[in-house]
Amino acid sequence: MDSLALGADLEPEPVVDEHSTVTLHVNGDPTTLTVDHRTTVLETLRESFELTGAKKGCDHGQCGACTVLVDGRRVNSCLLLAVAQDGATITTVEGLADGESLHPVQRAFVERDALQCGFCTPGQICSAVGMLREAADGHPSHVTGPDTAAGPAGPVALDADEIRERMSGNLCRCGAYPRIVEAIEDVIE
């Protein structure tokens, strides 16, 4: 156990446990578990929840394969410490479908065959779901015209350029990008 020697004689040492107990609401169900502080949300999902949809690609927030929705927002789960997400609502690709009925983004990816190896697909799909919500909420992007961005907030119309820009945090080394863009366009229509 580390000790915070500096100042130890002045004030009581802060608790420096290396584990904490957290409650995560994953795909609807609350689960309380004890995590090593070093554990990321990605590792917790894959190892404690056995939800292996989210993938460990680069493990540095650069590839997007680990993308999940936390409190409705798309994030890189490889950069989130599980201990810091106590109480959070997490939706993984496994939690998108409504029973046997696939989420519209999942259905579009299947219909467009928007993948080759499929490793990046769960991250692409979760990212697309979060991205569509952001655009519906009127969030501008880098390619939204400066004058448009300064206009009244309303849903942003997504053309292929907007989709490519907003999905740039998800890499596909097979290069399935054209079909991924088409699949997302299908959902918008």
């Binding site: 500096l6 040492e13 802060p14 540095h60 927030g61 880098h142 961005a149 300064a150 907003r166 945090g169």
Partner: protein
Amino acid sequence: MKPFGYVRPASTDEAVRLCAEGAGARFLGGGTNLVDLMKLGVETPRVLVDVSGLPLDRVTRTADGGLGIGATVRNSDLAAHPEVTERYPVLSQALLAGASGQLRNSATTGGNLLQRTRCRYFQDVSKPCNKRLPGSGCPARAGTHRDLAILGHSPECVATNPSDMAVALAALDATVVLLGPEGERAVPLTEFHRLPGENPDQDTVIRPGELITEVVLPPPAPGAASRYRKARDRASFAFALVSVAATLRVAAGRVEHVTLAFGGVAHRPWRARRAEAELRDAPATPAAFQHALIAELAEARPLRDNAFKVDLARRLALDVLGELTERQPTRTG
């Protein structure tokens, strides 16, 4: 990653106290840079003080018509905030030019200002680096430095500050509010980040235990247009080779108000004071812009492989100033 403690303070005062209590404490915001650096072994905190739940997540108008931006406001929320898109478009554009949608959803205002350089030698613990390990040397000077500094660097360090947001904040005359064991103080953003000098391990003037609580913007310059442009190796999700943030007001063909800042060229956002001084009351013409930019960049000292940045900075700023001249808002009354 080495084991570490984790605490979630209930107030900013408690956060500052917890951080001051022991060496090796780090504030945790979104974690998009800190957690990454912990994985790389660059950062080895003994305890994380998680400030992301503190009530610092508000964007509010200040009494004088400026804007107060809480330290834990997420980059994506700030970029989409109506006060920002309508009154400080250069800030929204800078935020949206940075990182990815996922990262912007996690990254905080305070964390963005404290992110470390992406110099590859800094991030690789098997290499010397004066910023990571003072006195160990700087392999970048003779090594890979195409994306590193052309202005204000030192023999010890040629790293660049990677933030887009900070470049816009520099052009907007923002102030950083810090809370520390000895109380609160405010530092102009242009003085918050340091030039490397002989102490490149210190990115900023922040003192041990100090917490960024807020960034404050003055009211926007009346009638001025603003713009952020970024040149990079790919169209999206890449750090700047060079970026430019500018605000400009032209009246009767002359420059009445101008601020200009460069990103990707130095250890801190580079406020182009010399060019601004040359431009004030000068004709708003490409020739005058060119003259001022050449004067500013005369002090550039490019490295072996990044001389292209000098020209890129000049041309990008020339484009931005030209665009802002054409986009002057129609003035009424």
